[in-house]
Symmetry: D2
């Protein structure tokens, strides 16, 4: 082409330099968007044995209060550049509160969920509602709600935190402020939101205006577990086996505008088919042991482990036990992708939906 | 006025006659809309003792099938002209199916709910899902779903039907067709929709697209009762005491686009405050005894009774027992008034919200 | 059957009588819903020549004010029992206001639209916005808005009114009250809502909260006509030719929750295909002449005529001119049927979508 | 505190190092969210004189096609780390196509808008619809639509591009693919979407299902300008003066799920009041000259200039002319913040809503 021949690289470089001096650039100098459609970063797994020992050590090193606003061990996927999250949109972390301790109240624009792992007798105060925490309970703290934690029991309390901090950070929308006192006071009885919205498909005839944020703040394990067993008798997904999304009872949609929460049961011996989607997720292995094959790499997990699924990675799950169920809790960014019309998914077409296993996570990581 | 003086009544009458001959009329000859805002017709009550004996007699007179598509005793408010409904929008009726009988399948554009009163072991088949029926269960049959009933037990089965037939009739939209066979076949297991949507605020991660019709077809009494007791500890409405609306889990809205369903518990000794609204309702006294004061007239009720509340009538409820709860199930036309932007309500301002009782229902009726 | 044989008709009649005495009935005594699915009543046509002479005579007989709240000639389809409407849900009427006259302000729960036929210089005051009226303009008066009319010109003003009075009446929701003064005052400039929402797909960046009622109150003819000609170059419906629904700019839906408004252009020589739907409509022939074939009966129309289409009637339109367009304005009850999930439609499958013409409207009517 | 005393910094550092080795971190080591609420980065301005000369030079250096997919000069705010955008969510750029040139078709998950600055006779092909481009026209290319540009005129064509690339990049959702041929073919006539949806508040009675993406692809300047002048007679915002949001005619919401588009007119001599909000914006000065005061710093602008407003910065606009209007086009991320429930705004309370000017943009920029 005439132009190409005429332009020597020196002139082009000069052009680029002069552009930069004015806060500009040439688009043709930039890399185009991803043309492979593959996962933008690899998965990551955190072993419970590691987490547990760090959590134990953290109880010796700091305590919640002025010194450390929260005693939280963050699970940050090092493959996500500049990110403290388990994925590019979601954090995962493990928080501990010892008997008598208070994690002081604050609020932030980021939303959070708590998925309870160990202990009982701790209260999370959410905008005046004291929410009880028992293993398997899901507790919401929507964005900009005052919230703190107090352990009134005689044993340590351990739970998973998952927040939308990387997303809110990317949106430059992360604001935070401390509560003027140690703990925001209870203005409602324990179980308030559950009494109103928790018992199936009913709502009080007064005061229930629609909201993108679930007014139901706690989803107790007893109910969740019973529902999984009932659904297991009826139907299952080829990709996720027996799986529920927690929902906002006022809309039937996600519990929070930025964080989706799932509980899934892999029945004994089940191997799901592979698929991929635009969204990412953080899994916590609540019970059982098995594997997830991600882009052909086998990642094994057992009770307590966490792992992060990157966007657009082919993935399928295997329950390694033929006797016991495996239970996976996960958070995801599906609400964001749906709201912004960016969601798509695709089943894996080959080999009846199963990937060739081409390596193990340990080999790849190590 | 010049015109008035000039126009003799003879000419006006001639004008009216000539208009009529052409399918026209003069607006000034018509009565204006209601300028009082009061109830357009009085309430009505049906005693269980009467209903029960008629239902018994009906079992001797007809049986479901070719002879009588349904063995149903209709509760028609005679104050609503030209109407077979309990109100101008809703029917109420009591249906009985004896052991071994089948009420053959059909479908109609009108939607229906069943509120179970007596018996067990009967199945309502709703578009292929066999729905169990036990006292206090609510079962939906949305418009244009094939449905029939079969009593597989050794005792009679009795339930309340409530349909939107008067509304659908006013809309000239009542279509009906018989199923080609006796009963439409089961294509799903018992409890299918409950397993998917019934267990609190969760939904399967697959296959749940939004719909104005609840995919959940059964609302079992055990869950309803537990929810009422939980809510009673937390909060209550001044007008309806402890009251839930049954909801569509996919939207948080009404279970059907034309029929709202409520369950309410009047705690021992409670007297609610009066209010009025644009909507009408049919109440069934599931348990207890008390009174409802409607436009100053006291209407007493006890277990099994039905009563119809007209639109725009001031009303308040009294539980006459200081020991036992009273439980009222009701259907209403609230979804219609909300959808058409016609809903309004108003609290009764005088005497702390309580009406003067100026007479009894018996005096007025008799 | 044993039961049938055992029951003598005398006992059954006694049963029916005793039921009636208690405000009850037996369902098996009632006729079932319509099993044909055909139109529940025949169409009706009003000739402009008749309307015009009655309207002229009405100006001699009454004037708006205490004597006749509105000088309105109602077009009531006599085939709809007990109904003053053109269909079972909608009225059609023609209103005249002479120079200097005021049709005094009032409000009612029924909603109304005005479709301007003749004259100019009249203002309809809608909740403080003075709305100009010129032929082909559509003006809304949503339910419960104060509204009145004042003719400030030197010629008579004539327009079509269409209200949801039969629907609101069937819902027992028709309330009305007079404004304390003659005309509610202007609190906004002429063209206020049009300046905010009328100019294509834009809205002010402030103050636009969603509403089921269009904030845009006037839809001027110049814009409507231009849009029809632009659409005609691009696409058309087989059933309605070039046809627009007027929309609420805040939702993209109908202008009112109970009344849909359409404008359609039948291009020269066009004969549409037949279809039927659950909804009814009232048509006003704004320009041109042609025919509508309804359930095989040919109904001819020309400029100024009105006709009412019943629900579920097969219908197709013919423009009898091969040179000029025919323009039909219509109101319909589609928003109601959509909101209540009762809408369905069906194309006519035979003879390339065309009905056999088996008679003329005149033969049938006469 | 006992713990604090016991923990020496060496042990803490060891803890941090061992955490890192396992892909973890301690939350108390991280900085908390922003507790000031201020703007996270400063504004930026690009002068038209600079842009124009670079755009001219670019026509000599490259041409669209294999060499440079697009001849685009990017306006990248250097204060946003790692970002090629004008803000953290939006790009701004200037594209030129010379007579006879084709910018070849491709598609990407990122959505784009074109705001036409100079020239005529160029077509943007959007999923088969040829969209004309004239100065002041807004043209949409929603995500994943095939699109290319062809200049069929005898003069250069220049327009502003704004995309959601930084947002989509942060969501790891940026996919792109080239069209197999040079230009995707026209499958619809010119003006197709405008004929359907462009003419005010109407839509065809067929084929208009709701969508979060505007089916209307072009918003012509003649209509936009007329609307601004009509609105100016009626009302204005204290913060934005006469300002419209372009809307999706099917929903009344934003034109795209990720990009909001505004046009605003500052009337002669107007100085707006200051406010701030969570969202960012890129402004293009379509006509006039004036200033925007951002966090107390005065940024002057004139016709052709671009400037980027960071989130949460106090800002107010001044039209420096007392005779002529100033017209600002802008894109913003408001749809994202609304969808994720993160939007908030705040008026500036002091000095009647006006900031003290504490410096000029030139001084600050150095």
């Amino acid at each position: 082409m005439a132009i190409e021949q005429a332009v020597d690289s020196e002139r082009m470089e000069s052009f680029f330099r002069r552009l930069e001096a004015k806060g500009m650039d040439a688009l043709w100098r930039q890399r185009p968007g991803d043309r492979t459609g593959g996962a933008p970063f690899p998965p990551f797994r955190w072993r419970w044995s590691d987490i547990e020992s760090f959590v134990q050590e953290a109880t010796e090193l700091v305590r919640p209060g002025p010194q450390a606003e929260r005693r939280v061990v963050l699970l940050g996927n090092p493959h996500v550049p500049g990110n403290l999250g388990a994925t590019h949109t979601l954090t995962a972390a493990v928080q501990t509160v010892l008997p008598g301790e208070i994690a002081p109240s604050h609020r932030h624009t980021a939303a959070a969920i708590r998925w309870v792992l160990r202990g009982k007798g701790t209260i999370t105060m959410v905008d005046g509602e004291p929410c009880e925490m028992n293993p398997g309970d899901l507790v919401l703290t929507p964005g900009w709600c005052w919230h703190g934690h107090i352990n009134q029991s005689d044993g340590p309390m351990v739970w998973m935190d998952s927040l939308d901090v990387p997303l809110v950070g990317a949106l430059q929308a992360m604001l935070q402020e401390p509560y003027p006192d140690e703990l925001n006071p209870a203005t409602k009885p324990v179980g308030d939101s559950y009494a109103r919205y928790g018992s199936g498909s009913m709502r009080p005839v007064w005061g229930s205006t629609s909201s993108p944020i679930s007014p139901l703040l706690t989803f107790p394990w007893s109910q969740t577990e019973r529902a999984l067993h009932q659904l297991a008798k009826i139907d299952a997904s080829p990709f996720d086996d027996v799986a529920f999304q927690f929902t906002n009872p006022l809309t039937g949609g996600h519990v929070l505008p930025t964080i989706g929460c799932w509980i899934q049961m892999l029945r004994p011996g089940v191997r799901t088919q592979a698929h991929r989607h635009m969204t990412s997720a953080v899994y916590q292995v609540f019970r059982g042991r098995g594997s997830t094959i991600i882009d052909g790499v086998q990642l094994d997990w057992e009770e307590g482990d966490f792992f992060a699924l990157p966007p657009r990675a082919w993935h399928e799950h295997v329950n390694r036990s033929t006797e016991h169920e495996a239970l996976l809790f996960s958070t995801n960014d599906l609400p964001v992708f749906e709201a912004l019309n960016l969601y798509r998914e695709e089943p894996y077409a080959d080999r009846n939906g199963h990937q060739d296993v081409i390596g193990s996570y340990e080999e790849r990581a190590g």
